[in-house]
Assembly symmetry: C2
Homo-oligomer: 155 residues x 2
Amino acid sequence: MAFDQIDRRILELLQRDGRMTNVELAERVGLTAPPCLRRVRALEEAGAIRGYHADLDAATLGYPITVFAMVSLRSQAEQDLAAFEAHVATIPEVRECHMLNGEIDFILKIVASDLKGFQEILMTHLTPAPNVASVKTSLTIRTAKALPGIPVRVG
Amino acid sequence: MAFDQIDRRILELLQRDGRMTNVELAERVGLTAPPCLRRVRALEEAGAIRGYHADLDAATLGYPITVFAMVSLRSQAEQDLAAFEAHVATIPEVRECHMLNGEIDFILKIVASDLKGFQEILMTHLTPAPNVASVKTSLTIRTAKALPGIPVRVG
DNA sequence: CATGAAAATTTCTTACT
DNA sequence: AGTAAGAAATTTTCATG
């Protein structure tokens, strides 16, 4: 599928404001509402738009702690990697899990209500998990930049 | 400000589907539309909801490469930390920048169109930046989990 | 084949209770 | 928090280049 300039403009605008009305979106990209809506639906169908999410303030809602955990496993056999992924999928505080190349096998983004809660997750669910060789964690002091998704060239 | 069960339910639903209509939202939380909309506006005002974003598929839109970069600086004086943050803020491919405790000063999430593009960012904008002592990068092989935001207890 | 106009439906939003 | 009403947006249908 090919995305033209109007499609990219739509993507950029909806990434910036996911609740923009279709009428405003249409105006901004220079279309009327119906063809604009059809393009949005097509972008959703094509998988270019995976969904829409409210961006919640973690600290305000009781999760002031964000931690990155670098995890190394003993075995990197595919079934062992998959088993670890399946395990972390069950931990609600683990919001992201990315498999990396190199020494570190996974990087996890974890949120917690306090340090005690973080330690609980670490000691109870992560360090003792099967096949885990090492877990190195770093607390987030502050987040300087957190843009959604990707840069969208509207050139 | 205190959030009750209904507020939390609203937050959970909008985090899951940021374009849910207020009518459907109201039905799901057991209110009629007007008080539900008032709650949503109040949550936005209070900063609990920071915004809404379309979740775009990076690979489909020309950014198949995601890299995590662990950056250490020579000086951790506040002005030098802030200068680095201001610098990465100008690089569109750097989507996230978190200041960490410990050996690593910052973790960056970077997207790129290909390895050449990534190398370009690394060599041109990151490694030679003022005050940068070391940059260790890891390519993302696959992302096993990527939930938005935070767990919302609706108990 | 995508756009646009028009119309029907649904949603949003305000005023009031 | 809910009801009711007016305004606005969404969505379908249909005509056009």
